[in-house]
Subunit: 271 residues, 2 copies
Amino acid sequence: MAFEIKNYRIDRKNSFKIDNFSTNGKKDIAENKDERNTILRELAPELDHLQDLLYAEHQRKVLIVLQGMDTSGKDGTIRAVFQSVDPLAVRTAYFKAPTENELDRDYLWRVHNVVPRRGEIVIFNRSHYEDVLVTKVKGWIDDDEEQRRLRQINEFERLLSETGTVIVKFFLHISKDEQKERLQERLDNPDKNWKFNLGDLDDRKLWGDFQKQYEKVINATSTDYAPWYVIPADSKSGRNVIIMQILLDTLRAMQMQYPKVDTSNWPKTID
Amino acid sequence: MAFEIKNYRIDRKNSFKIDNFSTNGKKDIAENKDERNTILRELAPELDHLQDLLYAEHQRKVLIVLQGMDTSGKDGTIRAVFQSVDPLAVRTAYFKAPTENELDRDYLWRVHNVVPRRGEIVIFNRSHYEDVLVTKVKGWIDDDEEQRRLRQINEFERLLSETGTVIVKFFLHISKDEQKERLQERLDNPDKNWKFNLGDLDDRKLWGDFQKQYEKVINATSTDYAPWYVIPADSKSGRNVIIMQILLDTLRAMQMQYPKVDTSNWPKTID
């Protein structure tokens, strides 16, 4: 197993070349799908345990950002990786097109509003990164505004980090061919029709532009306090294992402890 | 009338010496109280008009920060200056000691949550500045944390400014003798007893520390995009006129316009 977390991690600016990253992660984990699923199942209890520790410690916060093209597996990742985790202290925040109410404030307003509280894990299903991705690819913001936003995002994440939030950002990296298959499946399978959105085809036409923009944005916002991880995501089971491993590694590094409680004057038994 | 706005404005770092600023503003406006109140009454309609323009334009936002020692007149300023303004688009946000829910997030979370929306004026009655004022004077944060917060606050205000918020910060500057009189009045006058808080006396004992800390914080957070104004506040009527003038000047400089509406295909009359 050639699995090493540092192979996926981008934590310095301008060190990421998207073409150097494979979208196929099977080889890193195990060639056989059942094997990959078994690994995931075996790792799950530790995530559950570490989340319980985070909740009990009630000091730090964890923010997970999920970004990727349509069909890259953001929903599927949340379902598979967090399946067994206590919903009490894990929350998903979705960022769709902003409402009129949200547009009346700065673009980070709605984001700041839903950051994790102490002891909590929050997963961003899409995020403030849309404000420098789709917005730039479609030409809704110019170069100056893009640069301002990249700086603002770095400063915002720095604030969160300095106030106790551990940030992990995942780019779910799929190939254009894999997206084709997944979109076709949404067309063909009546149970998946509801996931199909004609607008996804417009974004698909801009595939190359989106890839370039992801590369640019990841290069501009990879920091030691909020690293990006580029996840080969053509294989769903491989993707799940890689993300699980990175999360476990991140949570382990926090070296959390159950709070020490003074039990000296506690009764021995409850009457 | 020796009134000039620039005499009160601090918009460069490290240019403010608190001892050089008088707490007596009467001489800048008019020696006679009735005269000062007449001036305020005459200026009020323009504030009303400019606020209506801001609301109609629905583009930019205005944030007013009010800071000062106890009894310095934050509540009184809001009442007197904004008396005639349409409450539809003016909102006051109070920042008391943070709740447990607020402490579970970073200290700017509750602040960002209530920033003005497009077309709105928001007045902060106390603000995020308490997080570098009372917290530092009382020793709840250390020097490193203070420096981090000063940087974070500058970046936060920069974000607001870059996304369309005009920021004006007022330090209501009173003398220790004036505070003594106002606290004594709260003790002696049964109708004002409700305003008296024993804790205010603790802060009064730290008067010199608070003055030094205000000087330091104002020096560290005076920027061209979020200037501080130091307002001589021993005279309430003088304070009101000075703040009104500064607000008018700030709003005029925004050069707002009622939105142009295409009326070419409108009916001449309503049936």
